[in-house]
């Protein structure tokens, strides 16, 4: 549905997006993750035909963005990052205006707009001006605007920002439901949002894709994997080799060496195993003294942090 090949976008001298390629299939919900300024919004603006790419090829539904932008814009529903709205219009007039611009037939407009009002929970603020709405309500109006023409592709730049927790759950469920037959790309900082809604995640940092995998894969990689920090008092030099030989240990990393004979290790265990007991036994066997041992489940946050740090 969306095919991006070697996309690069340069602002002045700064590369916002650097030679990225990925595809999104119909019926897929793609989570776009990355720190601020990573290039998420830029990529979305190019897909929605707001900006042309500096180089590279972007096709949406088979149409190239540079040649058939009107056809593409017709297919896409877009919630921009800053969610700009006409503040001096009332909500219903605004949705009608968007429906007109989208070319929805007059006879179907009321039905579609009513539908959006129900889905986005806008019933209470129907006759207010958009200026008078709170951030959360404005965000809902932005979503309603993006979906009013029932688009095949939804591009949502931080869709749940400013919503209350109940609304967040509702919107996530809505996106999941829509994602069965539509193509959705959503960007977010919130990692649990990706876990809750997306089929696939792309992590982008400084304009480069640093990870692209299905969420099931990502989760499988993470599931049950734990990192164990141990501090052991010993003068035994082969301690690292001993630790590596323990069943269920995948990786052993010495954290730092200080003057004392206390040694600190970070041990990553294989999925589904908990080698703490074996480590303890090993220590007893070799006469080491365990000063401390703590186990942490690795989360998406860790992966994100690892991939996007300097």
């Amino acid at each position: 549905m969306i095919d991006i090949k070697q996309l690069t976008k340069v602002y002045g001298t700064q590369k916002a997006v650097d030679n990225i390629s990925f595809k999104v299939e119909k019926g897929e919900i793609l989570g776009f993750l990355g720190p601020n300024g990573a290039g998420k919004t830029t990529t979305m603006k190019i897909i929605t035909c707001f900006m042309p790419p500096t180089s590279g090829e972007v096709t949406v539904g088979g149409f190239p963005v540079l040649e058939n932008s009107i056809d593409i814009r017709r297919m896409i529903g877009y919630l921009p990052e800053l969610n700009p709205l006409y503040g001096d219009m009332n909500l219903v007039d605004f949705l009608k205006y968007v429906a007109d611009l989208r070319g929805i037939e007059k006879s179907k407009q009321n039905n579609r707009i009513q539908n959006m009002i129900d889905i986005c929970g806008l019933g209470d603020v129907l006759h207010k001006n958009i200026n008078e709405l709170s951030k959360g309500y404005r965000q809902r109006v932005g979503l309603a605007q993006a979906m009013v023409h029932d688009p095949d592709i939804l591009i949502l730049d931080e869709p749940t920002i400013g919503l209350d927790p109940n609304q967040v759950v509702d919107i996530r469920n809505l996106i999941k439901r829509l994602g069965r037959e539509k193509t959705v790309i959503l960007s977010t900082h919130i990692l649990s949002e990706v876990q809750a809604t997306c089929d696939r995640a792309i992590i982008i940092n400084k304009g480069l894709i640093v990870a692209d995998s299905s969420l099931a894969e990502l989760q499988r990689d993470l599931e049950g994997k734990a990192s164990i920090n141990v501090e052991i008092k010993t003068s035994d030099n082969s301690i690292a080799d001993h630790l590596t030989s323990i069943e269920g240990v995948e990786e052993v990393r010495e954290l730092y060496l200080d003057d004392s004979i206390n040694r600190n290790f970070n041990i990553v265990s294989t999925a589904g195993s908990d080698p703490r007991e074996l480590i303890f036994n090993k220590a007893v066997e070799n006469g080491w003294i365990i000063i401390g041992m703590a186990r942490e489940i690795r989360s998406l946050e860790d992966v994100f942090h690892q991939l996007t740090k300097e």
């Binding site: 900006m51 009107i70 006409y86 611009l101 989208r102």
Partner: protein
């Protein structure tokens, strides 16, 4: 076509839903009304000459005020991003917005017909030149508005949009007033480029295709450039 109409209706409504339209119209009428009445009974002529002399000058200040927000405001508030990701062309956006400003200008000029009616009831008015004058006013005003639309497409700051538009308009306004200082070879060209020169022709009651062509090409060129500017600024 449908898209132009949608943009046009939205823009027209934002003019008349806000105080802009009313303030512009009232101030314009006070301004022209004052000039009309001060000398009217002294001169004792049953024509619209005074009104037709003052309105072009008034346009010079009122039209950039009407158009300055057209595009720059949407860019400033970010709604431009919403608008240009809709399935409509840049030129429909420009034309729709421009037409709304033409309607506002017409609504501003129509009440001055009261002066014409007053004159007609008091003396023997030359209907040909009055009708020609009004046609000329709308054409010249429309050309001013097109320049203003172009000015608004250049910047997201409304004050700067006003000033740039005013400068371009002023240049065209002054052209037939500085002919004395020009070399003779340039005079006829500069005179043809002057915006008020063609209005003066039309308001004599003679409708010449060259004058119509001047205004229509001025409008077309300005709007074309405005659409190009909108697209170009998006490319960054």
């Amino acid at each position: 076509m449908q898209n132009i109409l949608t943009i046009f209706k939205h823009e027209l409504r934002s003019y008349f839903d806000s105080p802009i339209a009313y303030v512009v119209i009232i101030v314009f009428l006070l301004f022209t009304g004052w000039f009309f009445t001060t000398n009217f009974f002294l001169v004792g002529q049953a024509d619209m000459r005074v009104v037709f002399q003052i309105i072009p000058l008034a346009f010079l200040f009122f039209t950039p005020a009407i158009t300055m927000r057209l595009i720059s405001e949407e860019r400033k508030t970010g709604t431009m991003e919403l608008l240009v990701t809709m399935p409509i062309s840049d030129s429909s956006i420009i034309i729709g917005k421009y037409l709304a400003s033409v309607v506002l200008l017409t609504a501003m000029v129509i009440p001055t017909l009261v002066y014409a009616i007053t004159i007609a009831s008091l003396g023997d008015m030359d209907f040909g030149s009055t009708i020609g004058g009004y046609l000329g006013l709308v054409l010249m005003g429309s050309a001013f508005l097109a320049i203003g639309t172009l000015g608004s497409s250049l910047t997201e700051n409304q004050v700067i949009a006003f000033i740039i538009s005013w400068l371009i308009m002023f240049a065209f306004y002054m052209m037939d007033k500085i002919l004395y200082y020009l070399p003779t070879s340039l005079v006829s060209f500069v005179e043809y480029m002057a915006i008020e020169y063609h209005f003066n022709n039309i308001s004599r009651g003679v409708i010449d295709s060259r004058d119509l062509l001047y205004y229509l090409s001025m409008i077309a060129l300005s709007l074309f450039l405005a659409a190009r500017m909108m697209a170009a600024r998006r490319l960054r």
